[in-house]
Symmetry: C2
Subunit: 315 residues, 2 copies
DNA sequence: AGTGAATATATAAGTGCTTATGTAAATATA
DNA sequence: TATATTTACATAAGCACTTATATATTCACT
């Protein structure tokens, strides 16, 4: 028996509170399961910092419509968890500039994977054909209880995390995936240059038939990422066109592709790999360095306008 | 700016909590304004006690889906406010039987007036054509902020409380109101006896034309209550058919009618008033006593089956 | 330039929920 | 019939919010 249905508008405040409690507790279970040190109540503040990069306490208060002490306390908690950094504003000694810490940025991909699962699982419960908020809440509550939402989320997450990433060589039927992944990536960070279009529209001719290679990361029959190796000489190849579908980000696909790439290059007895990138892509550069790439002098005539750094890995 | 809209499902928990907070605070302002010592969070427990008459802590926990300490604490608060009584269960020494106190019952009508206003004002904000709970909540939030809901409720309450109750004599056009009010009342507590139908269907002939009187409480052009004085002898009249529209309950209309009635009877130089009632109607009996009616012996042949008490007021 | 008001954040205390635990009575079990 | 388990409620402590207030810095104004 659930007496709230009878109380309608007057019980609305209590009902919202109770639903919030249930949902928060369920999501907490999910973070605990995933061994991520994060609390659901921190989400709005943290998400705002992700989107805004830098914010002040007051800005967060206004955006989230909560009291200033609530934000201060949430920030202290996030700081304690090592997820954010505080900096002083040079122009105003009162102001505290808040941003994600290195650790915060590091666990972001992992968090995003989990968030996507949560969103995917919660969303279907929030749709119902009714004009009444009370009925909507009642429906949501029933759905929440029917099968513990945390169990559903954990199952889905587990399934996703246990999916194997296969790395497969180029086939003509994947040409479109190659193009789409790269264009999505380019449009997000730069623009599609003529040189790109040319390459992407006819990758088989421009890369494969000229002695290059293209590989794909396949997860559960879906193409999740790609990279190519363009022939420069018999023992020198350019690593490029590395792209991961945002849907699959946070699952270390980039790293898996990189590891495969280096392994492959070694087997081919190549001398070295080259790549062109942009210092703006801090995370990418960081990974390249991690796998042994070192910056070298860039030639005058760069093949891409966006490139401002050239790197080399001696195999 | 309100960042929650961007966060959708993931911010849902926080959003529900925040909405609950806002609503609770707003309603608290209303109770404070009305000088009623009550808190919105107590509503579910208190309402359950109103409906169930008696309940145990465990029963309330189960019905409201909250933890046992939450209920215990709410009960302690209600007890402190004098709204409820605790009694021991004769059959089980562990169990605490909880029911409304005399004071709780007393302020109930007043509370109900306020609750009706709150419900009337909140309800329109909870309707929106959308299938998405998120959109629904967003809409509700905007509505809440647009004009402070507490202001709206207080204005409406003030308006209702300042409406004057006029007491007006019988006119033929009110015959239907007289019948409807009485039938509604009878059906709620007893059954409509043949004697009632007769009287109510032709009140003009059976009451007015036989030297009796019917009066109405009129509020804002609407008939809110009624009572009749049936002639027994030149100096003895029977007070009866007193009924108040549930919509107007809690506004002391019964008492106003009673005061008018006694005043009127005195002016007429009658010797006394009589009435038939039922001890089941504790509140009514209480009011009769308050206005000076005393129990007298009931004749063998009672005019109403439901009557088990006869009372008399010496004017 | 000096002083009061305004602003940004921190701290303290209160509130209503939670979980964990305590206590007493009733029930099950041997 | 004695003992263990279960049940009903109370109490304690923690948590995330609130309001009230303190503190430090900047702004506005004469």
């Amino acid at each position: 028996m659930d007496a709230f249905n009878l109380y309608k508008e007057l019980g609305l405040g209590s009902r919202l509170a109770r639903l919030s409690d249930i949902l928060m507790r369920e999501v907490q279970l999910v973070y605990d399961y995933a061994k991520i040190d994060f609390d659901p109540y921190l989400f709005p503040v943290f998400k705002m910092l992700i989107d805004k990069k830098v914010a002040t306490t007051t800005q967060i208060c206004e955006a989230l419509c909560v009291s200033q002490p609530a934000v201060t306390q949430a920030l202290q908690k996030l700081k304690k968890k090592g997820l954010i950094d505080f900096n002083n504003d040079k122009h105003d000694g009162r102001v505290k500039l808040i941003s994600l810490s290195a650790h915060g940025k590091k666990i972001l991909p992992e968090l995003k994977v989990l968030w996507k699962v949560i969103e995917d699982e919660v969303k279907p419960l929030t749709y119902k054909k009714t004009e009444s908020l009370i009925v909507h809440l009642q429906h949501f509550e029933i759905q929440l209880k029917k099968e513990k939402i945390s169990d559903r989320i954990i199952n889905k997450y587990q399934k996703i995390m246990s999916q194997k990433t296969e790395i497969i060589p180029f086939e003509s039927k994947y040409a479109k995936d190659f193009k789409d992944l790269n264009i999505a990536w380019l449009e997000k960070y730069f623009v599609v240059e003529p040189h790109d279009s040319e390459l992407l529209n006819a990758c088989e001719e421009t890369i494969i038939n000229k002695g290059g290679f293209i590989f794909f990361a396949r997860i559960d029959e879906k193409i999740a990422g790609t990279f190519s190796l363009i022939k420069v000489s018999d023992t020198s190849y350019e690593l490029g066109k590395m792209a991961v579908d945002p849907e699959f980000q946070g699952r270390k696909i980039g790293q898996k592709l990189m590891e495969f790439c280096i392994e492959f290059a070694k087997k081919q007895k190549w001398d070295h790999l080259l790549l062109y990138s942009n210092t703006k892509l801090e995370n990418a550069i960081h990974i390249y360095k991690k796998y042994g790439f070192r910056e070298i002098k860039q030639e005058e005539e760069v093949p891409y306008l966006r490139s401002n750094i050239k790197m080399k890995l001696k195999l």
